[in-house]
């Protein structure tokens, strides 16, 4: 086993991570607030979390991939608990008969951005600076590891009243999503899960790298700008190579649930430079397509982020409301998501839009299909 460089994540980093993960949540994934509270408490009790580069993993290392599954509203009553997520990881170890070298989050965006840190604190192993989405997506198969065709099982689910479930085998990632979702609903529509374990080689090949530090960096920029009363959004765009799409005021919100997802649209009326124009956003838990004058101007997997115009903090699809002053920005998607196979999993057609993916960043970067 090689000796990795481990960096201790400070509490200040975690405060930034919570802000950055919420932005990378692209409207979904739940708020990282409760995860942040858990980590504040763990740090107060003396726990610490170490961060390691995915490039420092040995090929045959095992990495636990964790997430909290369920409805964000349920999470406001049955609160995120660091011990539960650690238990889901231990179940994988007991089932597989091995020990994990490290742990990573399935998605850095939203509340799940803190799950790996919470598990790592209890298990006393490092967090890998990587995830499988580089943002948030609504379904389990919308990951880089699914795009890579890696094995989707086994998956453990833990419920604190003593229900422990393992989905040992499924024919596809979609079946894993369906089966584990059913179990999750029985558990009260919230469960701590540890997804199919990954090898160090798999994480190096298919993980989306350095997203934990990206979330910390983004959060730090925004918090710093808030402190200095400078423009957090300008700082974010410059640092991350993002693009401002629209500035305006939310004038209409329509929500509905279909097949368990929160779908709907938000209309934003332009102010300042965008006065007289209107942007519509379609969402499925996360912001999926931005339309201007009926034309799709940005779409998944490019990250569409709605930010409060003054503070630069993220606005979620569950919390967006009339009258909010927002700036809509796009951040470039990780390359694996915009590959032809990636687009099958997370492109506009995966969400039911008959659109050919066209990146907002196409002109600049020459990327896209």
């Amino acid at each position: 086993m090689n000796e990795p460089v481990l960096t201790e994540i400070t509490l200040e980093d975690i405060e930034s991570l919570a802000v950055g993960a919420w932005i990378l949540g692209t409207g979904g994934g739940g708020s990282p607030y409760l995860g942040l509270l858990n980590l504040r408490r763990l740090y107060a009790e003396g726990y610490r979390v170490q961060l390691m580069s995915p490039l420092d993993l040995d090929d045959d290392d095992r990495v636990a991939v964790v997430s909290n599954m369920g409805a964000p509203l349920i999470g406001q009553e049955r609160l995120a608990d660091s011990r539960n997520i650690a238990r889901a990881v231990e179940m994988q170890e007991e089932f597989g008969g091995f020990k994990f070298r490290a742990v990573m989050s399935v998605e850095i965006g939203g509340g799940n951005g803190t799950q790996a840190l919470m598990a790592a604190a209890h298990l006393n192993i490092p967090v890998v600076d990587a995830d499988c989405m580089g943002r948030a997506f609504p379904e389990a198969q919308m990951t880089s590891v699914a795009i890579g065709g890696l094995r989707p099982y086994p998956c453990t689910l833990y419920d604190p009243r003593g229900i422990e479930a393992i989905v040992t085998k499924v024919p596809s990632w979609k079946w894993m999503e369906r089966t584990s979702r059913k179990i999750c609903v029985e558990m009260g529509s919230i469960a701590s899960t540890s997804k199919a374990p990954r090898t160090g080689r798999e994480v190096k090949d298919w993980g989306i790298h350095f997203t934990t530090t990206a979330a910390i960096r983004i959060g730090r920029l925004v918090r710093e700008a808030n402190r200095l009363h400078t423009d957090p959004i300008a700082a974010l765009l410059e640092s991350e190579g993002g693009k401002r799409l629209f500035t305006g005021k939310v004038v209409d919100v329509a929500r509905r649930t279909t097949e368990g997802f929160l779908r709907g649209s938000v209309a934003i009326e332009g102010i300042d430079d965008d006065r007289g124009s209107r942007l519509e956003l379609s969402f499925q838990n996360e912001w999926i397509v931005a339309w201007r004058e009926g034309k799709a101007v940005a779409m998944s997997p490019d990250l569409i982020c709605v930010l409060e115009s003054i503070s630069g903090h993220a606005v979620g699809t569950e919390t967006v409301r009339y009258g909010q002053r927002v700036t809509v920005v796009a951040l470039p998607a990780p390359a694996v998501l915009t590959s032809p196979r990636g687009l099958e999993f997370v492109g506009p057609r995966a969400f039911g839009y008959d659109l050919d993916f066209r990146s907002v960043f196409e002109e600049r970067a020459g990327a896209g299909v």
């Binding site: 409760l34 509270l37 858990n38 408490r41 369920g70 409805a71 964000p72 509203l73 349920i74 406001q76 009553e77 049955r78 609160l79 995120a80 608990d81 660091s82 011990r83 604190p160 009243r161 003593g162 979702r181 999750c184 609903v185 009260g188 529509s189 005021k249 004038v251 929500r255 509905r256 649930t257 368990g260 997802f261 929160l262 009326e269 102010i271 838990n285 569950e318 919390t319 409301r321 009339y322 009258g323 002053r325």
Partner: protein
């Protein structure tokens, strides 16, 4: 019906007498340290006028007393916190996100017990009644006198909280109990925080309501006493003793409700210009639009019914920067009558500009002679710009809307503003908050998740719950009106789960009111 409305603000205590819908008399007195002697002064002044004598049907007080106690960390009790829901939510115990100093001051003992519910009504695990009895005994032994109880998903199924209260009443009958589901919304930590804040205010609530009663009795008024709530409705004094947190943000709401009443408009923008700040809000169906968000009170995250307000640093006492002619956000505040030029001071304020411009006639106008015409014009332009920008921020749809300008600093609102169709000024506008208190209505709210119902059925079910609550709180059933319906489909739940929040309000029932007197 003759009602007295009183608003105890930071600077002034305003009192008005309304006969039916008409303002008979209005008076302003300085607010005093203890609040109650200011109320007594205002009531005495009011009763000194012949037109304002005679019987009164209700006295309604809007006060910031309780929120100030939390913010200033005064008169707070040590409380016990009981959380029901283990083994879920174990890692984030009560007080976990409170400012340390405040938590240390009020944290008596924490009890975490098994129980609680899932969103669909299934128990998480059975309620640990033996553990609850032991907790009650410990509370009695420790001599704690106020307890807050929260249970997971209690807004959907309050049975664990109710069972806990029954056990407390049996084992320590003299303890005051706050149940979190009585305070509202889904969101365990925020609801629990509201219950805890309520519990720490118990003694102060008892004392304050007694003092308010004494003040009204001493002015020779024999009428039931009500306190206004954050949402522009009232609660009986007895209820206010049990729920002091419900009055936390009533001042701004009263002012907006008063503006609606005095202007006769139910849908309009309102700007309340005070000494230090201007509060901008929007009336919908005569009530302020609510903030649908977490609100921090004294550093504690809570979910309350709070008006959605934008507060900007523009008021009658705002400093004028001599270089830029920028108005505010600094203010002379309550020192206006000493520090402003027209009152003999040396600070150029918005009031001085208004006097110099002939918009206002107070103090010594000759002391504004040295202010240049350019300065006057530039300062007024800046005030206009600030108002236009922020009024636009509060609008929810495009197009011009009417604006009601109230408050003592309303002279800063010009005759025309971009985005405003009409500027409405009303008699007694500087006492709009006391008028809002006097006309406050009684409300009821429901916030639940419904499954396997159509949207219409779910809303009807929620309406019935809300109406029952309003009637129980003293509303006249015939006058009930729906104030707000909000439905929110919930992601990842089966059975087309729909969360419905409904609020209704009605006029004070006279019979109910006089019964309380007897």
């Amino acid at each position: 019906m003759r009602r007295i409305g009183i608003d105890v603000g930071g600077t002034n205590t305003d009192a008005v007498l309304l006969d039916g819908d008409k303002v008979v008399f209005a008076v302003k007195c300085p607010t005093t340290q203890d609040a109650t002697s200011g109320i007594l002064d205002a009531l005495k002044a009011l009763r000194a006028d012949p037109a304002a004598r005679g019987p009164v049907d209700a006295v309604v007080i809007g006060t910031t007393h309780f929120i100030n106690a939390v913010v200033q960390r005064r008169n707070l009790m040590k409380v016990a916190a009981i959380r029901i829901g283990m083994p879920a939510s174990a890692s984030l115990p009560p007080f976990c996100d409170w400012p340390q100093g405040l938590a240390e001051r009020v944290r008596g003992e924490i009890f975490m017990l098994e129980g609680g519910h899932d969103y669909d009504g299934r128990p998480i695990v059975p309620f640990d009644t033996a553990g609850m009895r032991a907790a009650a005994q410990r509370i009695a032994d420790l001599g704690l006198r106020s307890v807050a109880v929260s249970s997971i998903f209690s807004p959907l199924d309050p049975s664990c909280e109710i069972a806990a209260r029954d056990i407390l009443q049996e084992i320590c009958p003299n303890v005051a109990v706050t149940l979190s589901h009585d305070l509202g919304r889904i969101g365990l930590l925020e609801r629990e925080n509201a219950a805890l804040l309520n519990a720490v205010l118990h003694d102060l609530a008892v004392e304050t309501v007694a003092a308010f009663r004494k003040a009204t009795a001493e002015s020779g008024i024999d009428a039931p006493l009500f306190l206004t709530q954050n949402d522009g409705t009232v609660m009986q004094a007895e209820t206010a003793i049990a729920f002091p947190v419900m009055s936390f943000a009533s001042g701004a709401t009263n002012s907006m409700r008063g503006a609606a009443h005095l202007s006769g408009l139910d849908d309009a923008l309102v700007v309340d210009v005070g000494g230090t700040t201007s509060d901008i809000g929007q009336l919908r169906h005569g009530f302020p639009r609510e903030a649908n968000a977490v609100v921090e009170v004294g550093g504690v995250r809570t979910l309350f019914r709070m008006p959605d307000l934008l507060s900007i640093g523009l008021g009658g006492g705002s400093h004028i920067d001599p270089a830029s002619a920028r108005v505010g956000p600094l203010s002379v505040g309550y020192r206006l009558t000493q520090d402003a030029l027209v009152f003999g001071g040396i600070q150029l304020t918005a009031t001085d500009i208004a006097v110099a411009a002939g918009l206002l006639d107070v103090g010594d106008r000759s002391r504004t002679a040295s202010i240049s015409k350019d300065m006057i014009a530039a300062a007024l332009t800046d005030a206009t710009r600030q108002l236009e920008e922020n009024i636009d921020r509060m609008k929810t749809e495009a197009g011009d809307a009417p604006l009601i300008a109230v408050g003592g600093g309303a002279f800063l609102v010009p005759e025309r503003l971009a985005g405003v169709s009409q500027i409405i000024r009303v008699p007694f506008g500087d006492c709009a908050n006391a008028v809002g208190a006097a006309i406050a209505r009684v409300s009821g709210e429901a916030d639940q998740v419904f499954r396997d119902l159509t949207r219409d059925e779910a809303i009807a079910a929620a309406l019935e719950i809300a109406e029952r609550k309003a009637i129980n709180a003293g509303a006249d059933p015939r006058s009930l009106k729906t104030i707000e319906i909000e439905d929110m489909p919930i992601a990842y739940l089966p059975g087309n789960s729909l969360r419905v929040r409904v609020r209704v309000a009605g006029a004070l029932s006279r019979i109910e009111a006089s019964r309380e007197v007897a």
